[in-house]
């Protein structure tokens, strides 16, 4: 089983990956707290982008409403903690279950009725919006007033209750991102990965080959929703407050998928690279504008938009596939 993960991967790629992992492991010892907070954001987007990639990149189902699963996961774990004192490590399972149930519900409705493409994408937005407004009126979690988690002392890292320093959260996220990477590699190299490939590229042919298209699409949605729920739990315990207006917002959904699209949809390393590039770009632009004395609100986002435009026009498959080729990291057949 382990052999399957590294099978066909060039040695160079393994070494580079190992070096990157080692660098990430020691990073908190070397960088200042600000860089650490940026790294947390990068890993957060890398992980969530990977989760989205399962649905879009692997199974070809475009979701523009992934904020739904982030929000459901975050709210579930936070509400259990606030109302019943149930710790996040127990709550996370409930969060995953609820997110998966929602994902399966949406998937069932959509795939049963043969909704695909643009229509499916718009359906995912619709469900996210529906849930956002619903949570605005959900008194048990304080509606639009927002759900606040109790914040105690920060001096001690209390892992069982996910209370502690940014460094602790950093390592949790690093583990999640690495775990998601391995899980996705495992999925892609297994039978399910080939089925997904078939469904994504040639849905009709997949059907005639006897692949249960409905079933494998549903599995992709469930895995993706469940993984995304975890990032919601993380969000809730890292930021300690949740507002439906923000966590379920459509702009959130878009933010989450920019990374994998820029990095390279369907590739394993794309979401990670995309998150790095976009976050570093955003921070750099802010700094440069600041240094140049351009304090005009909006200028940074305009620049950001132009960069996105350039990448999507000139690198249609994202940054990673051409870079991978350049570095000679292409997988052997």
């Amino acid at each position: 089983m382990i052999a399957r993960l590294v099978d066909g991967v060039p040695k160079r790629a393994l070494i580079l990956l190992g070096l990157l992992m080692a660098a990430m492991l020691v990073a908190p010892l070397l960088v200042d707290p600000y860089i650490l907070s940026v790294l947390v954001i990068i890993l957060y987007f890398a992980y969530t982008g990977q989760a989205w990639n399962v649905m879009m990149g692997f199974a070809g189902q475009l979701s523009l409403g992934h904020a739904l699963y982030v929000g459901l996961g975050g709210y579930t774990a936070a509400a259990l903690y606030v109302h019943f004192g149930i710790g996040p490590w127990a709550g996370v399972w409930v969060a995953i279950a609820i997110s998966m149930a929602f994902g399966l519900g949406i998937g069932f409705l959509a795939f049963r009725f043969g909704i695909g493409g643009v229509y499916f994408a718009l359906l995912t937005i619709a469900f996210a919006e529906f849930t956002r407004i619903g949570f605005d009126h959900f008194d048990w979690v304080n509606g639009s007033g927002g759900l606040f988690l109790p914040v105690e002392q920060y001096s001690v890292n209390d892992l069982p209750n996910l209370r502690g320093s940014p460094t602790m959260f950093y390592y949790i996220l690093l583990a999640l991102t690495a775990g998601a990477f391995l899980l996705c590699r495992w999925l892609l190299t297994g039978r399910i990965g080939y089925y997904w490939l078939a469904i994504r590229e040639e849905p009709e042919a997949a059907q005639t080959l006897g692949i249960n298209v409905f079933r494998y699409k549903m599995i992709a949605v469930a895995i993706s929703a469940g993984m995304t729920a975890l990032s919601g739990v993380f969000f809730a315990f890292y930021y300690n407050n949740l507002f439906p207006e923000q966590i379920f917002n459509i702009s959130r959904s878009i933010e989450l998928i920019l990374g994998p699209i820029i990095g390279g949809v369907g590739s394993l390393f794309g979401p990670i690279l995309g998150a790095f590039v976009l976050t570093v770009l955003a921070e750099t632009v802010t700094e440069v504008m600041h240094a140049l004395g351009y304090e005009i609100p909006g200028i940074k986002q305009v620049f950001y938009g132009i960069c996105l435009l350039v990448v999507i026009i000139y690198l249609p498959h994202g940054i990673w596939p051409p870079l991978r080729k350049r570095l000679g990291l292409e997988q052997k057949p």
Partner: protein
Amino acid sequence: MPAELIANVALQGILTGLVYGLMALGLSVIFGVVRVVNFAHGEMMTIASYAAIVAFGAWNIDPLVAMVPIAVILFALGYVMQAVLINPFVNRPEHSQFILLAAVAIIMVNALLMVFGPDARSVLVDYSLDSVEIGPLLVDKVRVITAVLALAIAAGLFAFFRLTRTGRAIRACADNYLGALVVGLNVRRLYALTFGIGSACVGAAGAMMVLLIDTTPSIGPAFTLQAFVIVIVGGLGSMPGALLGGILIGLSEAMSGLFFAPSAKSMFAVALLILVLLFRPQGLLGRKA
């Protein structure tokens, strides 16, 4: 609940819905032909609204007059966008198209923010706050005027697509892309023309909108979403569908606001959208894909 209240609210909902319908019409025309979902639709409307505000502020031109040149400007913007940016993307996967237009939307919103600042702007003409009494009903004059204009523009557009050569050619390439290529139509130019026409619609709607609501740079995405809801309910690609969708959404928001919590009224619109997607994904007046 008094009947006049219900009738009044329903009428307001329908009138507002028609203007929304005109905005959504642009989106529907574009998708029907080019098969690209314009994720920058609401943002383009915001640009039109700011143009109307500038025209009023600088030269005191009534937005209903400024509407004509603004529609022309938006036509040009749409034409250029399609010709330069979108044409190479017509055969790319949906997520690529999505990011392309989302990036355009981000640039538009923030460029407006840079130029005009974050303050809400509006245009106050001397009839802005007038109301007309129709029997027991009290109807907002601006809404009546804009709804009538929206209908007129939609009718003009129908006529264009049914009666003119160019209009028929555009419909031909929507119906059969390969066929259109075979008979020698310049599909790229027709696509650009279509995107221009769709943008002109949204330009007209944007100019009218300044009489109904206040404009801020960040209002665009909400309108993009609203336009989606409307066209999907009516039928993506169907022109009468967009108007019907507008009316239905306007009406459902008004009625749910009246009978339930107004803060949840857009939930009903989204619920309508979900129902339509599940049971009639091509929309109420759409043709089966």
